[in-house]
C-alpha cells in the first residue's frame, strides 16, 4: 500500500508540474504531429495497404515522442538537482522508478489521443474499429516503453552523451514491444479485422511488460546510485 502511495506521489508530482507548464506534453504532441504529417506526405497514395502504413506511422510517432518525453522528464530532475532528493527520500527505489514511468506513460497516452484521430483524418485509418483493443495495445506498449525507458534515462543522467545514448540503448530493447504494437494495430485495422492476431500481440505485450518490469525494478535498484 505504502509502495503504491509513493508511486502515486512521484507520478502526481510530475503530472502536476506538467499541468502547470505543459512544456513536455506540448512539445511531444507537436513533434508527433510533425512526424505524422511528414510520413503522410511521404507515403500516402504510394502503399497498397492503409492499415499497415497507418499503424507504422502511429508507432514511429509514439516511440519518438516517448523518447523526447523521457529525456525531458529526467533532464528536469537534473536541472533542479531533485534526482538526488528523490533517491534519498525514504521511498523505495522501485516506487520512484514506477512513479517516473507513470508520468511518462500518461504523457505518451495524451500524445496517442491526438495522433490516432489525426491518422483517421489524414490517411483514412479506420480508427473506430475495435477501439477497446487499440486502447489496450497502446496502454500496454506505452507502459513497457515508459518503464524500460525510465531505467535507462535514470542510468544515463550522469553521463555526458545521454541524449544520443538513450536512443542507442532504448530502441533495441523496446523494439519487441513496438513490433507487437505495429502488428497488433495493423491486425485491428485490417479489413476484415484479424482479432485472433490482435489478441496474440496483446498477450505478447503482457509477457513483455511482466518480464521487463521485473528486470527494470531490480536494475533500477542496483544501477542508479548517486
Amino acid at each position: 500500500m505504502r509502495f503504491l502511495r509513493h508511486v502515486a506521489a512521484v507520478a502526481w508530482k510530475d503530472l502536476r508540474v506538467e499541468l502547470r507548464t505543459r512544456e513536455i506534453v506540448s512539445t511531444m504532441v507537436f513533434f508527433a504531429v510533425m512526424l505524422v504529417l511528414l510520413c503522410s506526405f511521404a507515403f500516402v497514395d504510394k502503399v497498397p495497404s492503409i492499415p499497415d502504413m497507418a499503424s507504422g506511422i502511429l508507432w514511429i510517432a509514439v516511440a519518438f515522442a516517448g523518447t523526447v518525453g523521457l529525456s525531458r522528464g529526467f533532464e528536469r530532475e537534473l536541472h533542479g538537482g531533485t534526482m538526488r532528493a528523490l533517491l534519498l527520500s525514504p521511498a523505495d527505489r522501485g516506487a520512484v522508478l514506477l512513479g517516473k514511468a507513470t508520468g511518462v506513460a500518461v504523457t505518451m497516452l495524451v500524445v496517442e489521443a491526438v495522433v490516432v484521430p489525426l491518422l483517421g483524418l489524414l490517411v483514412g485509418a479506420p480508427v473506430d474499429r475495435s477501439p477497446g483493443l487499440l486502447v489496450l495495445l497502446l496502454v500496454l506498449a506505452s507502459v513497457g516503453f515508459a518503464v524500460v525507458g525510465s531505467v535507462f534515462a535514470g542510468m544515463l543522467l550522469p553521463t555526458r552523451a545521454r541524449e544520443v545514448l538513450l536512443a542507442v540503448i532504448l530502441y533495441p530493447v523496446v523494439t519487441p514491444a513496438l513490433v507487437a504494437g505495429i502488428k497488433g494495430t495493423a491486425a485491428v485495422w485490417a479489413e476484415p479485422s484479424q482479432l485472433a492476431q490482435a489478441y496474440f500481440w496483446i498477450k505478447f505485450l503482457l509477457v513483455f511488460d511482466a518480464i521487463f518490469i521485473a528486470v527494470s525494478l531490480w536494475a533500477f535498484e542496483a544501477v542508479v546510485v548517486e
Binding site: I169, P176, F208, A219, V225
Partner: protein, 224 residues
Amino acid sequence: MKTILLVLCVLAAAVGFVALPFLVFRAPLAYELFVNQKIFYYHVPASIVMFVAVFVAGIAGVGYLITRKPTWDDTAAAAGDLVVIFGAIMLTTGPIWGKIAWGVWWVWDARLTSSLLLWMIFVAYALVRRYGGPGASRLSAGLAVFGMADVPLVYFAVNFWKTQHPTNNVIPTLGPGMREPFLLGIVCYLLLFIALLAARKAVRSGERRLHETHDLAADAGLVE
C-alpha cells in the same frame, strides 16, 4: 596464465583448421541443398556460442551490480565484445545459407529479427562501454541484464510465431556423419570463445590496473 592461453589457442586452431574442415568435408550432402548445407556447421555453433556469451555478459553484469568487484566488470566487458563478434559470424553465414535455401538474403521473420535485435543490444553495449564516460560499467551491466532478458523471447520466438527459420528440433535429428562435425563445431567455437574471453579479460584488467597505478602515482605527485 600465458601457457593456458597458448594451449587454448593451439587447441582451438587445431580443431578449427584441421579436424573440423576434415569432418565437414566428409559429412554427407544434404538433400536439395548440397554443399550449401555445410555452412550449418559454422552458423549454428556460432549462434550457440553467441548465446553463451550473452549469458556470461549478463551473469557477470549481475555479479558486478551486486558485489561491485571490478573483475566481474572485466569479464562482462570481454563477453560483451564477443557477443558482437560471434553475432557477426552468425549474421553473415545465415544470409548466405538463406540466399540459396529461401532465395533471399533476409526475411523479417521472428527469429531473424529477434536475433538481430539481440546483436544490436550488444552493439549498443559496446558503444556505451566506449562513450558512456565514468558511469559506463554500471550502465552497461544494466544493459547486459536487459539483453539477457531478451534471450527467452528470441529462443521461443521460433516455436510461438510462424517462422521460416528451421526449428530447434533439427539438432536432435541429425544423421550420422552430420552429428560429429556439428558437435566438433561447437567445441571449436567454445574453445575460441574461452581463449578470447581470457585474453580480452586479461587486457582489460591490465588496463584497469595501469590506470589505478597511474592515479596512485599522480596522487603521490610522481607523475603529471
